[in-house]
């Protein structure tokens, strides 16, 4: 990590220096080692550029705004970010010309909530040694395994190949290994195998926690609408709170439906949920269904392919396939 950090700083200052881009959207250190913030920097304050294992957030959505501004912006894209980037370019939300995409390697990013979930509180500093994470806390030093505290998306990493870039910090084949991908549909399969009532109870339990803060929506690179239907009083479905269980269901069904076929499975929705609702399991259900019904499709794999909901084949399965599939009634 330290090595890459050095390379990154050098490369970024070179690109800003030679005018390839006039600013970078990078990271700024926070109060604690984990509370990094996205920040735009220019030549004069580039020394603030910070990069560590907590710089995992998908920044591609910021490029919508950034690519409207004057000059070229340098974006740091991890392999997984490039999927969202492609998708945004495909949907004309990001002006490709205004972005210089620097592909950076990644060997998995950390989730501080997972560290806290292990009962480690009062965190003062964190040291990431590749395999082991050392945490200094107000209540003594703790350690945990890196694999235990990886972000959800990293556990099902799509691989180290960048799907879009102008330049790579290091060639993909020389990049460090990515975490071994778990089966990303494991939990979806598990839910599908439940009875209908069990699934209902599971999702009620989860969705009833929703406080409708819209973090999942606002962070989502696919949710790039200027005005969301749920904010538009003329849509007939706008609301600011879940006044009834139904609204919790509706918000999350429609949120997932609107990104179906466009969601790259970046997992930001679940990462930012203050209630840790596994929202990615809704998106993954759509992804799994699309793969099964219409053939494997990975949104953002490129910036041209037609999405599965804007395509069809004459022999597509009928909706009644749902009656035959899934768990018990």
């Amino acid at each position: 990590m330290r090595e890459i950090n050095e390379m990154l700083k050098k490369k970024v200052s070179e690109l800003l220096e030679n005018g390839t881009a006039d600013r970078i959207i990078g990271w700024q250190a926070g109060e604690f080692c984990y509370d990094v913030t996205p920040a735009v920097m220019r030549k004069d304050n580039l020394d603030e550029l910070f990069y560590n294992g907590f710089c995992g957030a998908n920044q591609s959505k910021y490029l919508i705004q950034e690519s409207l501004e004057e000059g070229k912006v340098l974006a740091l894209l991890k392999p997984c970010d490039t999927y969202s980037f492609n998708q945004l370019v495909k949907e004309h939300r990001v002006n490709r010309e205004k972005v210089y995409a620097l592909g950076i390697p990644c060997s998995g990013m950390l989730d501080v909530d997972k560290i806290k979930a292990l009962g480690i509180t009062g965190i003062l500093s964190i040291e990431d040694n590749g395999e082991e994470i050392k945490v200094a806390t107000m209540y003594g030093d703790k350690t945990c395994k890196r694999t235990e505290v990886l972000q959800e998306r990293c556990k099902v990493c799509k691989g180290k190949e960048h799907k879009a870039y102008d330049e790579l910090l290091i060639p993909d084949e020389d990049a460090p290994e990515v975490p071994n991908g778990e089966d990303r549909f494991e939990l979806v399969n598990k839910l599908e195998a439940m009875t209908s009532q069990e699934r209902f109870d599971f999702w009620r339990g989860e969705l009833s926690k929703c406080i409708r803060c819209n973090a999942c929506r606002n962070v989502c690179p696919a949710c790039s609408c200027r005005t969301c239907v749920f904010d538009n009083d003329n849509s007939g479905v706008a609301a600011k709170s879940n006044a009834d269980d139904f609204e919790e269901n509706m918000f999350h069904i429609i949120r997932a439906f609107h990104v179906a076929g466009r969601c790259t499975d970046c997992g930001e929705c679940s990462r930012v949920c203050p209630q840790h609702i596994p929202l990615h399991l809704l998106n993954r259900k759509f992804i799994k269904d699309i793969d099964e019904f219409y053939g494997e499709f990975q949104a953002g794999e490129d910036d041209t392919a037609k999405g599965p909901l804007t395509a069809y084949t004459e022999g597509d399965c009928e909706p009644s396939i749902v009656m035959e599939k899934g768990g018990e009634a």
Binding site: R93, C225, S235, T310
Partner: protein
């Protein structure tokens, strides 16, 4: 707030017997917006219609709900009625309380309750209706026909006959298409050239028809009635206006070794050439790949020879942009080249030919002057084997899945012609099925078998081998369960029909759709067979699917009738229930355009005023003249920017709410 009048029709006893119409009228009086409600015996009668008109005026209604039969029955009637009384025809909603209520329910209480709910749903929707005005667009009174084969010629002649201008774009140096290469036509065996060339001449001489030969369509924009098409005229290097078609240049041209496309490469032509004697226009073209002047900068004999001074080596490609009201696709086909069928030895053996090559070998204007000679040694073949379904009806990657439709008949024709001309020739046809639907078709095939003694064997050829200058054909005879090896002097392959390779790019330009085989798709497979789903684009001939000549001509004329119907209009009134994009909500993601079957959605960079913030945004704009109002875009649009007039999200939700009250 609307002022709504509700009119409940008895339809005699059709409704009144199972629905308490007075109760329905009474029940809706309390609904928001309703200021008047009544019932009447026959709303569609003159009395009923006057009642509506009078009430509109007396009460100052802004909208009308009629509870009656299906809107599919009388919506148009009542739209006219309310319009006559001065309100917008789209401020009308119909509650279907006959077909969907009184006729299917026996219990009056139940029927009345349902009728009330349906009426309330119609009121709820109408409360959100806005007046809609049908858009108008002009119609350019000129048609473009892409492709100058028999399909295109027929369509162009028929359109011209009705008095409209037609332009034909043909990529070859001459019009006429594949039919010019055919010898005789089934089932009458009349000479193809004899029936085609007069039509070519008619087309050339028509004042209304303008032929762009050796030209291609470069770009298409616009929509029904208002297409703008850029045509690329490739340089012939011969000035058409000066050329007299005397042919002296061809005689003198020293480059004589180019395979002659017209004769399927069975003989050679010069670098400057007219494809065939009856070509239209009868103006030569210089093949720059073969011409010594273009290759070496020397020569120029043709220029010296030409007494009309028509040779122009400096001619440049020309782009012409013209407007059209309608576009006809008549791009036709090409026969499959059986290079991947190694078992038939087409690549290796000159005496294995395709059916079209065989046509040329039999044609009096062909390379052998009509004498059937083997290409390998110019000897007369005594044994000929025909193989059907080459490249058709298969599922492997070298086959097409469809039946090419015409091969059975032309093979029977070939077999018959050979036996007629050379009775000492032994002719065998290997077939899977013989398909002869068509007037006098089966009779024709039976004549080949019974009168002309052609051997028809059910079974396919497994391989062809060349042994000592003769061919060994190994095949199965399924009916006698035998495998046979036949000696043959010549093998003729009935190769599949393939859409012209330009179909795909043309379809993209026209936003017309093509199927997996690259045939153009029709707007409706049964009811709109000569229209493409894109308004103003029509289909003629084999570009839509394999056809024989009579069918092609029939479709060409049908297509012309559709075009004439369009061009006869001065203005096009569009259905006002079309999609509309809210420019402040649109993200410009183009998802809507991806699902639009009509190419009705364009993207423009437009300055918008978003609550005081002015900025240029890339947003969707619906072309109302092209949009058909299906609503596919409205659902695919995540932001809800796209909505459908007349069936808006809020309107449908209001109906849902009213029904579920």
């Amino acid at each position: 707030m609307q002022k709504i009048g509700v009119f409940v029709c008895w339809c005699g006893s059709n409704i009144a017997a199972t629905v308490d119409v007075a109760a329905v009228a009474e029940a809706v009086k309390g609904e928001p917006g309703v200021v008047f409600a009544t019932d009447y015996q026959y709303m569609c009668s003159e009395g009923g219609q006057s009642l509506i008109k009078e009430t509109i005026k007396e009460q100052g209604l802004t909208g009308v709900v009629i509870c009656s039969c299906s809107p599919r029955m009388h919506e148009a009637t009542f739209r006219k009625t309310v319009e006559a009384a001065g309100i917008n025809p789209y401020m009308l909603e119909i509650a279907n309380i006959r077909e969907q209520c009184s006729w299917i329910h026996k219990n009056k209480e139940e029927g009345t309750e349902k009728a009330i709910i349906l009426a309330k749903a119609a009121v709820a929707k109408l409360n959100l209706n806005t007046p809609l005005i049908a858009g108008e667009s002009r119609v350019v009174k000129r048609a473009l026909v892409i492709g100058g084969g028999i399909a295109g010629i027929q369509t162009a002649l028929d359109i011209a006959e009705a008095g409209y201008e037609v332009d034909i774009v043909e990529k070859q140096p001459t019009i006429g298409g594949k039919m010019t290469q055919i010898d005789k036509t089934f089932p009458t065996l009349d000479c193809a050239a004899c029936i085609l060339t007069p039509k070519m001449v008619d087309a050339a001489q028509s004042e209304k028809i303008n032929i762009y030969s050796y030209s291609e369509v470069e770009k298409v924009s616009g929509f029904v009635g208002n297409f703008s098409v850029t045509i690329k005229k490739k340089p012939r290097y011969v000035n058409s206006d000066l050329c007299t078609g005397c042919g002296a240049c061809m005689e003198k041209c020293p480059s004589k070794k180019t395979p002659n496309e017209f004769n399927m490469g069975l003989d050679n032509r010069t670098a400057i050439y007219i494809p065939f004697a009856q070509a239209i226009p009868k103006v030569p073209v210089i093949d720059t790949a073969a011409c010594l002047h273009f290759k070496t900068g020397k020569c120029g004999i043709c220029q010296k020879t030409c007494s009309a001074n028509a040779i122009d080596f400096d001619q440049k490609e020309e782009l012409i942009t013209k407007e059209y009201g309608a576009i006809v696709v008549a791009t036709g086909f090409n026969p499959l080249k059986p290079t991947k069928f190694d078992e038939y030895q087409y690549n290796q053996c000159a005496d294995v030919v395709t059916s079209l090559e065989f046509e040329r070998l039999m044609n009096a204007a062909g390379p052998t002057k009509g004498v059937l000679l083997r290409p390998s040694d110019q000897s007369h073949p005594k044994k000929i084997v025909f193989v059907q379904c080459v490249g058709s009806r298969g599922q492997s990657c070298r086959d097409h899945s469809y039946c090419s439709k015409i091969c059975c008949m032309y093979t029977a024709k070939h077999a018959m012609l050979v036996r007629d001309k050379y009775p000492d020739t032994d002719v065998t046809v290997f077939y899977i099925d013989v398909r002869t639907p068509g007037k006098n078709f089966d009779e024709f095939y039976r004549r080949a078998v019974e009168e002309y003694g052609v051997h028809y064997i059910k079974g396919m050829v497994g391989k062809v081998e060349q042994v000592d200058g003769s061919l060994k054909v190994q095949a199965s005879d399924l009916l006698s369960n035998d495998q046979m090896v036949l000696d043959a002097d010549m093998v003729v392959l009935a190769t599949a029909v393939e859409p012209d390779p330009t179909a795909k790019s043309l379809a993209t330009m026209l936003t017309a759709s093509i199927d997996t085989n690259n045939f153009f798709t029709e707007a409706h497979p049964k009811l709109r067979p000569v229209e493409s789903p894109t308004a103003g684009v029509y289909l003629s001939g084999v570009c839509q699917g394999p056809k024989d000549i009579p069918e092609t001509v029939a479709q060409g004329s049908a297509c012309a009738a559709k075009v004439i119907g369009l061009l006869a209009k001065d203005k096009l009134l569009s259905n006002p229930c079309v999609a509309h994009s809210d420019e402040l909500l649109c993200n410009g993601c183009s998802t809507c355009a991806n699902v639009c079957a009509y190419g009705a959605i364009d993207y423009v960079d437009k300055e918008v005023n978003d609550h005081g913030k002015r900025e240029v945004r890339h947003i969707a704009v619906v072309n109302e003249a092209v949009c058909q109002g299906c609503g596919a875009c409205t659902v695919t649009c995540p932001s809800g920017a796209m909505d459908l007039k007349g069936f808006a999200n809020r309107q449908i939700m209001a109906e849902v709410d009213a029904i579920c009250k």
